[in-house]
Symmetry: C2
């Protein structure tokens, strides 16, 4: 089981910000990281994984990809469903 | 190997448009479909898979998810890299 330390939450920063966060994490002795994203950030999570693998850490493998649905608190109250992705990358 | 008939390309239409296309395809006797998307449409492809599975075809399984990078012709000439996803859904 992976600890939260190995999880990178992909939000609204640039792809390169997250790529650098991943490189830092992987160079700190961790063998595996999990990219998590929801909604529109899902595309960015795939970008981060692809840029990381093609340009920075060519030995990195896509170990697993999961998709799912999460409930979030809507601004107007109540809940809304949002799609989510988890990409596990492994050395 | 899957024929192109079983492939749904996710672009800029609404999620529901693609969900209906998938339901139609799966009700025509096909056991498996592949959702393909690039760039920002990747998030929509995950939405389509999740809405389809949670609301319309609850026995549908995510059989495989692949991510990759494709080259596209840039408007200014030359090529640009774009992330891509393929989600295989199976009855």
């Amino acid at each position: 089981m992976l600890s939260d330390e190995n999880t990178i939450f992909i939000g609204r920063k640039t792809v390169m910000d997250y790529v650098l966060a991943c490189v830092t994490q992987l160079n700190s002795g961790v063998d595996e990281i999990v990219l998590k994203a929801r909604g529109r950030s899902i595309s960015r999570a795939v970008d981060v994984a692809e840029v990381l693998r093609s340009r920075f850490m060519k030995d990195l493998k896509v170990k697993d990809i999961k998709i799912g649905t999460e409930q979030i608190q809507a601004a107007e109250g109540g809940t809304a469903n949002v799609s989510a992705i988890e990409i596990t990358l492994s050395k």
